[in-house]
């Protein structure tokens, strides 16, 4: 009985090791890029504003937002 169990265990172990060599799995497929999606997290769109594409654009948007904030504070005062 124990010899049979040992034999079964050998079969299981060898099977798990050899199977990928006999039946190679294709490399994991990556989903095609979404043409509308931002390329990186740094380019996430801000709602209501055009997407930033270069660091110059980003600087310009920061300046614009600063001006907007200053104007809002001025109005509140």
């Amino acid at each position: 009985m124990l010899i049979l169990a040992a034999f079964a265990l050998i079969l299981v172990v060898v099977g798990m090791i050899v199977r990928p060599l006999l039946h190679p799995t294709p490399p994991p497929s990556t989903p095609p890029p979404d043409p509308g999606a931002p390329a990186s997290s740094d380019e996430v769109e801000v709602p209501g504003e055009p997407p930033a594409t270069t660091s110059d654009d980003l600087e310009a948007r920061i300046a614009a937002r600063r001006a907007q904030m200053a104007s809002r504070e001025e109005t509140e005062r």
Binding site: L2, A5, A6, L9, I10, V12, V13, V14, M16, I17, V18, R19, P20, L21, P24, T25, P27, P28, S40, S41, D42, V44, V46, E49, A52, L58, R61, I62, R65, R66, M69
Partner: protein, 677 residues
């Protein structure tokens, strides 16, 4: 059947060795089938070691005393639960448990990354397999629990009575799972170094493993503390025992990692720190294993001296040397991107937290190692006791509380001093009031405790206000809307709010320890049945003394009624003294009545059955319940932080551009939605 156990361990060792070779060659040649085969070998090792573990459990349950390990750690009277727990009561079985859990963890990692992080996987598999070869090799050669005795004894020696406690069922497996889980971040950090993929990829891959292992190790430490408190009968939960210390060391470095990794995710800096911390955490788990299993440390937890220690020492040296060389080699790639070397305010506080945790870790490491070095080099016995560690702990605690009080209020990029002052006003005021009240109640006799309580109040207020601001940021101003909004915040931002809960748990735990260490008291009383004594704010009345004789033990039990001086009932305390069948000395079960203010902790010392009198040692431990509540809160917060949720952001460098946050653009100090330290 024992021979089948040995056979399955050897088979697992063979599979692990194959995994090492196949992963190495697969990586060098870029051969995916070989890497997959190595992954299959890790799974096969897990299957094989599951069979080995099942065989050992079966040998215990069938009371096969022809097997040495079974005869040494069980007997025919042992209950089923402790018979199963005897699996990990000795060196050989605990190493088998370690190997099995490591193989299971490795199989889980492989399954989790079937289609992800494929560039890192060959080295990850290689490292996991190498560690598995070490532990399976030890079980197969030096610590085989399946060895048969040349004769069959009538009964086993039995399980050590101290281990016949609920703690034996849960404490070692939780601790082992925590230790073993740290192998995964180490394997990924090595893979990042070898492949040069040193961004946030490996950090994202190991996040759940790091937090999960930190949680399990924390749970193991807490369970061990509770076990010591209720079983050992000296009224303590932490004795600075070398083996206790070595469980704390990787937990501290993992805590440091969990803080600085946030900086790398957000700012791309502190890469060397994080890699070093991942390596150090794993190396310290090996160090802990070495100390427990080499016989070099004198501890109630240590196993007998074994040559396994030398192999573990060799593994520690290999890990430290290899990782140092790899980090040095990759230093040019580890420079922060875009020349970000300046540390803005929040980052500075993270680094300070890290420095504090590491200084504490190094000091405990040195205090634990020094007696071993002195004994090895000079041949003299040196003891580094509680006063040394207590001296270290006070400044660490004060610094940690101060950081927890300030850090959550400081913004990431630029902090405005005026804004910070405004936000600190309430916590400082609460801290000062609590400090003043504590000073009046204490009479100024314990200034350090007063400082700790004051800072705890300050940190607690900061954390409570953070939760409050989070609710208000969502426009919920009515009280009845607060709880549902808070619930939604935990679902939407579990990492941030889970972190706040962890910090609240730490504050509660520190308060409990400070109160207990400062104000604990003990007194001895002898009572006849019906007689009463006043201890602190309670009246204890000896209600009954009962004796019980069974085939396995003789016991005497004393029951005491607890009442307030007003006469109001406050429960009962039951304490026991017993002699088991395989014991030379009688042992005591401590009676504990836990109340919010303090624990009434009673040890039955002696009994005179003829006169119906009993001697008790009665301790009062203020704030101990807060330690367990704080520990529970800490674990709950950690669990919340890793709980899978909708829209889980795995956090690349900066998840949102600052233009999304007007506060950041305007350089304002505080953004309640930004994750805190």
């Amino acid at each position: 059947m024992a021979e089948f156990g040995t056979f399955s361990v050897v088979l697992a060792l063979a599979a692990s060795v194959w995994a090492v070779g196949a992963a190495f060659v697969g990586y060098r040649r870029g051969a995916e089938p070989l890497v997959r085969s190595a992954e299959g070998a890790l799974r096969a090792a897990a299957v094989s070691l599951t069979v080995s573990s099942a065989v050992l459990v079966a040998l215990f349950l069938t009371r096969d005393f022809s097997v040495r390990y079974v005869a040494e750690y069980s007997d025919s009277h042992l209950s089923t639960a402790y018979t199963v727990a005897a699996f990990w009561a000795g060196q050989d079985g605990s190493l088998l448990l370690w190997a099995w859990l490591l193989a299971g963890t490795s199989a889980l990692v492989v399954r989790q990354h079937r289609g992800r992080h494929r560039e890192l996987l060959p080295i990850v598999v290689l490292v996991l397999a190498l560690v598995l070869v070490l532990f399976t090799g030890l079980v197969a050669t030096l610590s085989n629990p399946f060895v048969r005795l040349p004769f069959v004894p009538e009964d086993g020696a039995g399980l050590n009575p101290m281990l016949q406690n609920w703690g034996q069922l849960y404490h070692p497996p939780a601790l082992f799972l925590g230790y073993i889980g740290f192998t995964v971040p180490f394997a990924f950090s090595m893979a990042a170094l070898v492949t040069g993929r040193l961004g946030t990829e490996w950090i994202r891959a190991v996040r759940v493993w790091m937090v999960g292992s930190w949680l399990l190790l924390g749970l193991g430490i807490l369970l061990g503390a509770r076990w010591a408190y209720t079983e050992l009968g000296w009224g303590g939960y932490w004795a600075w025992d070398p083996v206790e210390n070595v469980s704390l060391l990787p937990w501290l470095t993992a805590t440091a990692y969990l803080h600085t990794v946030v900086v790398q995710e957000r700012r791309g800096t502190l890469r060397v720190w994080n890699l070093t911390l991942a390596v150090a955490t794993f190396a310290l788990t090996l160090f802990g294993t070495f100390l427990v299993r080499s016989g070099v440390a004198s501890s109630v937890h240590a196993f007998a001296e074994s040559s396994a220690g030398m192999y573990l020492l060799g593994a520690i040296v290999a890990v430290v040397v290899t990782s140092t060389l790899l980090i040095t080699w990759r230093l040019p790639l580890l420079r922060p991107p875009h020349g970000k070397t300046g540390a803005p305010t929040r980052e500075r506080l993270f680094v300070l937290t890290n420095a504090l945790l590491l200084a504490y870790t190094l000091a405990i490491f040195w205090g634990t190692l020094f007696p071993v070095i002195a004994s090895t080099v000079q041949g003299r016995e040196v003891t580094v006791g509680e006063p040394f560690f207590d001296l270290l702990t006070v400044p660490f605690t004060v610094g940690l509380l101060a950081l927890m009080a300030v850090c959550p209020l400081v913004a990431w990029r630029r902090a405005s001093a005026r804004g910070l002052q405004r936000l600190l006003l309430a916590p400082v005021a609460v801290g000062l009031v609590v400090g003043a009240v504590a000073a009046i109640l204490d009479g100024g006799r314990h200034p350090l405790t007063i400082v700790v309580l004051s800072l705890s109040a300050m940190a607690g207020t900061t954390l409570a206000l953070e939760l409050h601001r989070g609710v208000h940021a969502h426009g919920r101003r009515r009280l009845r809307e607060h709880l549902p909004t808070l619930g939604r915040l935990f679902v939407r931002r579990p990492r941030r709010y889970g972190g706040l809960v962890v910090h609240l748990g730490v504050v509660l735990l520190i308060v409990g320890v400070a109160l207990d260490v400062t104000y604990r008291s003990d007194e001895r009383h002898t009572l006849a049945v019906g007689e009463q004594v006043t201890v602190g704010n309670y009246v204890l009345t000896l209600a009954t003394i009962d004796s019980e004789v069974s085939p396995t033990r003789v016991s005497l039990t004393a029951t005491l009624d607890v009442t307030r001086p007003s006469g109001a009932a406050a429960g009962q305390v039951v304490t026991e003294r017993y002699l088991g069948i395989n014991q030379d000395q009688p042992r005591t079960h401590v009676g504990v009545r836990s109340l919010l203010r303090e624990d009434i902790y009673v040890i039955l010392e002696d009994v005179d059955v003829d006169t119906q009198t009993a001697g008790f040692n009665v301790h009062l431990h203020p704030g101990v319940l807060w330690i367990w509540l704080g520990g529970g809160l800490l674990l709950l917060g950690g669990l919340l932080a890793i709980w899978p949720h909708r829209g889980h952001r795995t956090g690349d460098a900066v998840a949102r551009p600052d233009v999304d946050r007007p506060e950041a653009v305007a350089g304002m100090a505080h953004d309640p939605e930004v994750p805190r330290c």
